[in-house]
Symmetry: C2
Subunit: 546 residues, 2 copies
């Protein structure tokens, strides 16, 4: 923070009050040699054990909450013979049947969906996955692949009695090429573990998300997870080099290439990236890790309007350009929740409140150059009144604190009540209109406010990707509130040619909303792909495609 303030004293004294150092932040400049590898946010500390314990005993099953869903009677029910088969190929510890233990696998993180599976299988080899799937396919036993179970659309938990196949016991790193950065690993490796592993070798995983401490890389790929680094490193469709996938009939599709370029035939791995377990189970992942940047800066800025958020973004693309690695925003309502719920590690370092906040991260190879680019950029924003106030992290603690605010928002939302989460993609100029229109609609309907069914509406997300997270906090999930939000939110997005799911996927939640973002011809071809690869429909049924 110091260098910016000093320069501002000289070049723009009228801004002295605006760019302020909070007493709580150390003034000594500490070297930021590399991206801190400390776990950020609180999501990752939300363990499965505490999660299962926190479940209310009377929480309704998905099947009861959504009575239009009917169990496909063609699917076989689990028998002792089936169990005997699974026991013949797996170690005893790889089968979970205890009702209490099953809870953590049957329920999603948001406590919105609750399945009724009686069996979790945790194979440890690709061959075992192949044997399991072949058996299930032959016997028409429906299955749900599950990674870290951190999804937000109900895609990784059963709807009825589907067998859960967990990648938890597949967590080996198979190889790492220290020259190219190509990492090959089992699907059950936890993202944060991988990030720490490659960090020790000078690399960084090309994706990062709040759930990094729990999510599995196989699940990340199966859901085409976006997250915080997409702006810099692109999507998994570009960074995944190869996959090993088991098809429903037990076929092992071995395509674990580590080549950056390979134009031999259809790029089949792409079909599985984002297929949400509907076509097979990803058992191995080859992914290109970029070089870890030597210098990382994070700045938090207070901004008066969404118009100015956009201006700051446009200027960042010109001035920070190749070192820009994240451009996140949130509104005042978001940070109010973070403060209210005292999210661990997240303290607002700005003196006054602002309608909008921006978090900017830069990553580059030369600290002096990056500091100069960032300082010039921030100075320009202040001079031109684009931002009102700002701080730059001076050490790892401050770095983590600023990121904790952003990553603490989803946690604060979930502590506020039942969360209606929408993850929307659209042109940036209209991005915040969605939040305001939703507030107006709920307010006009008399359900928004103190003592009413809906407590508040917040907006945050990834400006750089045109990705808004719209969270609506209610007392509880009710048909009345749901009916006010949907299909309004989807129709609104369709008018903007946006996506009803930017990064969370479809899961169970948005299966019926697919047509708002995809044409009938696209949906028809998707169905043909599904029917070709999973003709018996055992893979993650009731979800994804209508």
């Amino acid at each position: 923070m110091l260098p910016i303030t000093r320069r501002l004293l000289a070049s723009a004294p009228r801004r002295l009050q605006a760019v302020s150092l909070r007493p709580s932040l150390a003034l000594t400049a500490v070297a930021r040699a590399s991206t801190p590898s400390i776990a950020r946010g609180a999501f990752s500390t939300f363990s499965k054990a505490s999660f299962a314990a926190a479940l209310s005993k009377d929480k309704a099953y998905t099947a009861d909450k959504y009575p239009h869903l009917q169990r496909n009677q063609e699917f076989k029910k689990l028998t002792d013979d089936d169990l005997a088969y699974f026991k013949s190929i797996l170690a005893p510890s790889a089968l979970t049947q205890d009702e209490g233990d099953l809870e953590a696998f049957n329920n999603d993180w948001l406590q919105k969906y609750r399945g009724q599976s009686k069996l979790v299988l945790k194979p440890s080899t690709t061959e075992q996955v192949s044997q399991i799937l072949k058996y299930c396919n032959d016997n028409k036993l429906a299955v749900v692949p599950q990674g870290g179970n951190t999804g937000l659309v109900g895609g990784a938990v059963p709807v009825f009695d589907e067998i859960i196949i967990s990648t938890a016991n597949m967590s080996s790193i198979r190889s790492f090429d220290n020259v190219s950065g190509a990492l090959v690993c089992d699907a059950g490796c936890i993202l944060e573990v991988l990030d720490n592993y490659v960090a020790e070798r000078g690399y960084i995983m090309p994706l990062d998300l709040g759930a990094k401490g729990s999510c599995h890389i196989g699940g990340n790929v199966a859901t085409n997870a976006g997250g915080l680094r997409l702006l810099r490193y692109g999507s998994l469709h570009g960074t995944v080099l190869g996959l090993e996938v088991v098809l429903p009939d037990g076929t092992i599709l071995d395509n674990l290439s580590t080549l950056r370029k390979d134009n031999t035939g259809y790029d089949l791995k792409q079909l599985f990236i984002g297929s949400e377990g509907s076509l097979g189970i990803i058992t191995g992942v080859s992914i290109l890790a970029p070089k870890r940047s030597k210098a990382v800066n994070v700045a938090l800025l207070g901004v008066s309007s969404f118009e100015q958020v956009q201006n700051a973004f446009k200027r960042s693309r010109d001035e920070l350009s190749e070192i820009l690695s994240a451009f996140e925003f949130w509104d005042k309502a978001s940070i109010d929740l973070v403060k209210q719920h005292l999210v661990a590690g997240a303290n607002d370092p700005l003196e006054s409140e602002h309608p909008f906040y921006i978090l900017i991260e830069t990553s580059g190879s030369n600290k002096d150059h990056d500091d100069e680019k960032l300082n010039n950029y921030l100075e320009g924003l202040l001079t031109d009144d684009v931002v009102q106030d700002g701080v730059v992290a001076q050490d790892t603690t401050q770095f983590n604190n600023l990121w904790s605010i952003r990553e603490g928002i989803p946690e604060a939302c979930s502590k506020t009540g039942a969360v209606y989460k929408y993850d929307l993609s659209m042109p940036v100029p209209v991005l915040y209109d969605m939040v305001q229109d939703m507030r107006t609609r709920l307010s006009d309907s008399g359900v928004l406010g103190e003592g009413k069914p809906v407590k508040c509406v917040v907006g945050f997300g990834h400006i750089g990707d045109g990705n808004l997270h719209l969270n609506i906090m209610a007392e509880k999930y009710t048909d009345e509130v749901t009916g006010l939000i949907e299909p309004f939110v989807y129709e609104w997005i369709a008018k903007q040619s946006g996506s009803v799911s930017a990064e969370h996927g479809l899961g169970l939640m948005k299966t019926g909303a697919l047509h708002y973002s995809k044409s009938p011809s696209m949906m028809k071809l998707m169905r043909r792909v599904k029917d070709m690869i999973d003709p018996r429909g055992i893979m993650n049924p009731y979800k994804f495609l209508p």
Copy 2:
């Protein structure tokens, strides 16, 4: 060049002779404000007219050269009724039947493949493409989609009498978003035209290749073209945002999204990227153009061994990092050919000859920062004897000259004789072993050398992507030479788990080599995809899949 030389005078005087300014290069430092948009290389000036005229009259048909290929007798032969139908939906100028005019469409750039099509259709709307394909599918008329016809594996020209459907009349830019950089255009837009268009708006196309002056963006996408910027901006699987594709049955798959993130269903567009016209015809492309860098540097280095080429590359990833935009190499045999054939604009500015050459390009937002990074990097390479000599372009002319050497290699090769072109992907450490092993093999067989069937073997390519271009120049294409090269080259690559086609695709040339890079299970699923989307097999038959 000046700043580096000056610094070297002070810090490493013994290197004074090494980094040399050639008298032919202007010493004044000229601002390099942006990537020059001047057409580079000579490929783009190789017009279809001159090309057709250059064809020898007695050049053999593909069908005669490869007698194992048999026309599929289930395909209908073109009749007057068919012509009447096409004339009913297209303008007269959109049909080509003149024998002379057909030559440029029936022959590939390398003059290696020659088809016998009697009809070229040039629709100007997606609807027309749909009508044509539906008719052809209903009547079992085989077709070949063709863009700029700059492919190198015989994928875009007919084998027998397939109807050629050219995208030449589909060349409109549909929209450009000046904030996000999302460009939506017709498939027939020429890459260079698009690059100039976005350059005027501060953006750059995420791909660049020697054929930029002729190739169509639709063809680039259909072949998943790699090229010179892949190191920086990644592959088309990451940068293409959406596609409009006409399926064989006439269905228009409308997926021209401009969203950076969209997780609604299978990412079907990925199937068509690199499908080489075997599944449908791409009629529209939405692609994300990155911001054009304000500062661009190009350096040419002379290096004593391939080991040192690798060292220079490893150090570039650490020291140039986010500003590195190209890292190309070639061997002495390559530049000898360029000099021999006086490729326009390509003059070697280094004082002495070297076993290997490196071309490095940096692109960034701050010229001073980039210059400092590049100077430090080059100084380190010279001090540590990693490179022997080098120059840095000081103006647009020099910039183009250095790139012309690299881009002139394929042209020089084709002027030398019949070119056996292999485009291979493999781990970088073994990359040049391939070239040396091939020379040894041909030499040991007594066919390589002055007055012998094979004149020379050269290696060049994209170090950053592990992509070698192995070119073998012969008097003419003969079974003897072919038999010495293949399957040796493919077996060698398979042992390294490499790819028999890094970026050129399979086309007709490598259909039979697919199994060296893909497993039986992968090939089987590819076949199922093909049969699902093109059940009558009319799309680009005899190619791609065995």
